[in-house]
């Protein structure tokens, strides 16, 4: 166990000393994954709403796509995005590979099906009668949609948690399209891999603790939002 104690002491000292590098890494992680999850919500919740409430040709097929997308291997996403953005690829002229936008794109592709599928499930659980009633009382389609989303908010919160959790802890795709450049695209997961490769267990363990703490905090916040919503209902 000595190996853990030593590493943990080193890591804590490093975090406490406010070593700029470590906190930059944490900040880049939040920036990239925050942006990706925000975009995933903007695109995924409306998509989930349509999939969960409307009846149209191809709906089943799209639901299957979304559900399959939830299990999309991040390395495959990384590979395809890297090929598309590479200098010799179709979007090479944008010079986006190994930059934060490239990471946001990859993380968005990973998170979007999760957000869409989970919100579709949440929205379809809202009783159809409720929507019909709202409409008969004169609600516009937009008002009806907002009411449905409000009813489904528990599930939507779960969608946020699932989406954020899947990308903040992901390492394969962000390495492939981000390149782990210090101060630019180095995030907690890629830094942990690098420090471990270098035999620097201290900073690796410190970042691991921050990463786990962050996932924990996000889930605590979500749980609080959920419970306060429940109180409001009762």
């Amino acid at each position: 166990m000595g190996i853990f104690i030593d590493a943990f002491r080193d890591g804590l000292a490093m975090l406490a000393s406010g070593a700029a590098d470590v906190w930059t890494i944490v900040l880049v992680s939040i920036q990239v994954s925050g942006m990706a999850v925000l975009l995933a919500l903007v695109l995924g919740i409306p998509a989930g709403f349509v999939l969960g409430t409307k009846r149209f040709v191809g709906r089943r097929f799209m639901l299957i796509i979304a559900n399959t997308g939830m299990g999309l291997p991040p390395v495959v996403v990384g590979l395809v995005v890297a090929m598309l953005l590479s200098r010799r690829g179709p979007f090479g002229s944008l010079e986006l590979l190994y930059s934060q936008p490239a990471m946001v794109i990859a993380q968005l592709v990973i998170a979007l099906p999760i957000v869409a599928a989970v919100s579709a499930a949440a929205v379809s659980a809202v009783p159809r009668e409720l929507r019909l009633q709202a409409r008969s009382l004169g609600a516009s389609p937009l008002q009806e949609a907002f009411m449905t989303l409000k009813e489904a908010r528990m599930g939507l919160i779960a969608a946020v948690a699932a989406g954020f959790g899947s990308i903040i802890s992901e390492v394969g795709a962000v390495t492939m399209v981000g390149g782990n450049l210090a101060g630019k695209t180095r995030v907690m997961t890629t830094a942990i891999v690098q420090y471990t490769r270098m035999g620097d267990y201290g900073p690796a363990l410190a970042l691991a603790a921050v990463l786990m703490g962050m996932v924990l905090i996000v889930n605590i916040l979500l749980a609080r939002v959920q419970s306060s919503a429940e109180r409001y209902e009762a």
């Binding site: 590479s86 200098r87 190994y98 390149g179 450049l181 210090a182 490769r197 270098m198 035999g199």
Partner: protein
């Protein structure tokens, strides 16, 4: 009506499909088991030795010919290669997670031996480092008089320079080149813009260098192996300071020290050295490593 009759049918099909998949996976496991019991009473009990080496050696493809040749000559052993940076390879040695090391970081190897972590260190081979960059050579390293002038030209920051920054042998060599030229790249005014730390292996770092159309120091083997996918050329080579010496070190008190020693003996023998000297000729028209065991 129709829905009711279709749904259970779909359900049943799903269950059957799942059952089939599970059965196959069980059969798969069972098959593995029988294979394992079949091979167990084989004539030779094989000992697995762990060789910790560097990503650049792995990326060059040398192990793909070297390991089978060793296992053929020493059928009692099988080798598992763990490719990491020289830094972690030596850390693995310290922690006894490896039986033998093949690394290229002379200063760190010396410290490793002095700390008593290795039983012996022998020279094995060398290859050389090359400075690669875009053919347009915006920093003008081609016309520089010597390596020190090259480093000074790079430090002007006209194009990005990728540093692996991972304590690898290649990284150690790069840092030494800056020190020798009395240049501190991180201390330059616009370091954040041009001196970029990738923290990754040679292959990845070359890809990043290619995308940024910048410069990096690479071992020749990895560069030759990956240059087909790169728009980069060798801009500087052959300087004496660019030589890259590899050493083999069996780890003190390793689990399979006998295997580690056997690997060292074989790789420094005439037979092992011959395999090294011929590697790459067929594919690249030139050998990637020069054997130089004493």
């Amino acid at each position: 009506m129709r829905d009711r009759s279709v749904r259970p049918a779909l359900w049943r099909m799903g269950v059957i499909a799942l059952a089939v998949v599970l059965t196959f996976s069980l059969v798969g496991c069972a098959k593995d088991d029988t294979e394992a019991t079949n091979t167990a009473p084989a004539p030779v009990e094989k000992t697995k030795i762990v060789l910790a080496s560097t990503t650049s050696t792995q990326d060059s493809g040398l192990f793909d010919v070297l390991i089978p040749a060793f296992e053929k000559a020493n059928p009692e052993y099988t080798v598992e290669v763990i490719a990491v940076g020289s830094g972690e390879a030596m850390k693995m040695g310290e922690n006894k997670d490896a039986d033998v090391l093949l690394v290229h970081s002379p200063a760190a190897e010396k410290a490793f031996m002095e700390a008593g972590f290795g039983t012996e260190r022998r020279d094995v081979m060398y290859n050389d480092f090359v400075l690669v960059g875009p053919a347009s050579d915006p920093a003008g390293v081609k016309s520089a008089a010597d390596l020190n002038a090259v480093m000074a030209a790079l430090a002007q920051g006209k194009a990005p320079f990728m540093t692996r920054d991972d304590k690898s042998g290649t990284n150690a060599k790069e840092l030494k080149l800056w020190t020798d030229a009395s240049v501190s790249p991180t201390a330059t005014a616009s370091a954040a813009d041009w001196y970029l730390s990738t923290g990754q292996g040679m292959g990845e770092t070359l890809k990043i260098t290619n995308e940024k159309q910048g410069y990096t120091l690479a071992d020749r083997a990895t560069f030759l192996t990956s240059k087909g996918a790169l728009d980069l050329v060798i801009l500087r080579e052959g300087d004496k300071a660019l030589l890259n010496q590899y050493g083999v070190i069996p780890v003190t008190d390793a689990t399979h020290l006998d295997g580690g020693v056997a690997f060292m003996e074989w790789i420094t023998s005439a037979e092992g050295q011959k395999v090294i000297g011929e590697f790459g000729i067929e594919k690249f028209g030139e050998a990637l490593f020069t054997p130089n065991a004493q």
